[in-house]
Symmetry: C2
Subunit: 356 residues, 2 copies
DNA sequence: GAAAGTAATGCAATCGATTGCAGAGGTTTC
DNA sequence: GAAACCTCTGCAATCGATTGCATTACTTTC
């Protein structure tokens, strides 16, 4: 009694409109090659049957999947989830689906990626995780014709791919200069996980700004935040235990900074009175912690959009240049309440007043 | 000179191992049907050629995509990104890919979903967005054989699908009781966006706990937080402007609560001294704001894992029951620093002491 | 008015894996 | 020793859309 409706195929449409499947296919993909009247009959039949092309059949024939793979280190990180949002939007607008592969590092990541391509599930890869083993993937094709791949955020030096990233080094420099401009001379740094390219770049920017200003970088004022709130908190604990503390800190990301802040509070260290703090990323939360966090805003929406667009351009062979392009987006300093002049300034001002 | 390596097919493996493609196929999918020696030769050839089955061909023949579609209202929301993380893990473990469709509501959502199924791109749908139009999707098949679909978080009453969710109403009740247990009698509520099922359930739990305790719910102490930090902040502004304020607030989610907190701080209203605050979700950030947020922890990891598992069971026809199952996970109260006894208690205690 | 050109359409091969059916060769059963 | 029954394997159809080539029926050109 139950009428099992088969999902309509191109055959059904062809039968309904009294033409061959070839004509139906052409009517849908290159309408100008089909006469007006036939086209009308076909689109009527499409309406009637509710036909949608079978993607598997199309993929098999055309060897494209109309799907991209996004490999992320940790999707729970709000930094990445915002990017994924804009990737998804751009991809959907261009008719591509988005497959996510999370925590995409570790031993067999190369093989897993390779399988995605070999099994024809995806046309391209958007890689946000620099720790992935690319060697395996590179085996896929000869060197001169690598798989469509765009590397985002992380830098993979000398690889023949487009990259999209923000200028971490310069941004870190700017963040540090902001503190220096406020009068701070003793400044520490909460770094990311070691081995990470971002960590290295941001630390380099910090050192550069310090060096340019003729300030010393004290190794005991460098903490590892590893990009997590808990690790930032731990850094805060160690900070509180210092005999001599810097008057300002630059954190390599907002999450570390927020964890750091919460530890400060536990120890009765006030921000920005006792210590100024600059974060990195401008997560939504940054404006809402106490005090609101001064931070370097990363253009997350643009990053995802541009990376996805570039990848699809490569897939469709529309990439403007044959050579790998390296796109660098710039960050913006957002000054909020977590930075102020150093207490030393005030006391030295006081000192210079009192003796008079 | 460039050797274009074609991606290896089952034909190549067959040729290498001197058997037919049928045997190779069987060796890979049901090894027990192939003799030991042949199997060895085949797996050697697989190694040698680096063969991976073409998923499009397989999908076409078997009418399965080994992919699920996850429809989310907003992936940037950390609540959802944590769930997506566990979905992805569970799906990957069972050999399924995860396609994400973000902001999956609005006019044509039904048609978009229908197309995903009709085009054979996905085998099932994990729906986190109650505002999606299911009618269109239901047209796909007869009523008795609906598409594999699991509805998570949101409740769609009387629909013939498995659902996985947390007991929002009871959890909200518990959260409110926690405040009542501390001695609060004037309690307000920051609600979610109106029209949302979660909003309604959490508000209902709030009202239930208040009613059970014989407490009045004052309509001017109900704010709309709409689940965003900015809206929570706005609610905080309105709270600060009240002539008479409640001594405690229950917020329908952590983000609203955090926005609310930041507004309180701007107005010099101290939490928990002047007002206690309970959130909902236990985002990572909740432990790191100031004061650390008391909140109802949602079992996010379990939610994603169970929902994905249930969906794949349905897809593979292993679903234990033919009837829709309604799984309800329970939440846990995490008491942190944002809740305390009401100031009224202290002053009344003081009052009762002083006159003596 | 013949040759050439063009527009619209159909035929049938093709993509790569799966699977129903059948056959070959061997073993068990009575 | 014939019938029945395995086990292992191959043949060829099949899934649904795309596309190179061929065909038909006009139109244009000189």
């Amino acid at each position: 009694m139950v009428l099992v409706k088969k999902t309509p195929t191109i055959q059904d449409v062809a039968r309904f409109s009294g033409v061959s499947t070839a004509t139906v296919s052409r009517a849908l993909s290159s309408p100008e090659r089909v006469s007006e009247s036939t086209r009308a009959r076909i689109s009527e039949a499409v309406q009637l049957t509710g036909y949608t092309p079978n993607q598997s059949a199309r993929s098999l024939r055309q060897k494209t999947a109309r799907t991209i793979l996004v490999a992320l280190p940790d999707i729970r990180n709000p930094f990445f989830s915002a990017i994924l949002d804009s990737i998804e939007r751009e991809a959907a607008a261009r008719g591509y689906g988005v497959l996510v592969a999370n925590r995409f590092s570790g031993g067999d990541s190369g093989r897993r990626m390779r399988d995605y391509f070999l099994s024809n599930r995806v046309d391209g890869l958007l890689l946000f995780d620099g720790s992935v083993d690319l060697e395996q993937l590179m085996l896929l094709t000869g060197d001169p014709a690598p798989v469509p791949l765009v590397v985002a955020c992380e830098e993979i030096p000398s690889a023949p791919f487009h990259t999209v990233r923000t200028d971490n080094c310069y941004a870190a420099e700017q963040a540090t200069r902001h503190l220096i401009g406020l009068g701070h001379t003793s400044i520490g740094h909460i770094a990311g996980p070691c081995g990470n390219v971002l960590t290295a770049e941001r630390a380099a920017g910090f050192r550069k700004a310090m060096g340019d200003a003729g300030l010393m970088v004290r190794e005991d004022w460098l903490f590892e935040g590893a990009f997590g709130m808990d690790q930032g908190h731990a850094a805060g604990q160690r900070f509180a235990a210092l005999r001599e503390r810097p008057t300002a800190m630059f954190s390599a990301n907002d999450e570390s900074a927020i964890g750091f802040l919460s530890a400060l509070n536990q120890h009765g260290i006030a921000c920005p009175r006792d210590v100024s703090l600059v974060g990195f990323d401008d997560l939504d939360i940054a404006a809402h912690v106490l005090p609101p966090l001064t931070t370097m805003r990363q253009p997350r929406e643009a990053l995802g959009r541009i990376a996805a667009g570039a990848l699809i351009d490569v897939i469709e062979g529309q990439s403007r240049s044959r050579l790998p392009m390296h796109m660098v987006l710039s960050s913006e300093l957002i000054v909020r309440g977590s930075t102020a002049c150093p207490p030393a300034h005030q006391s030295s001002a006081a000192a210079s007043v009192l003796p008079v």
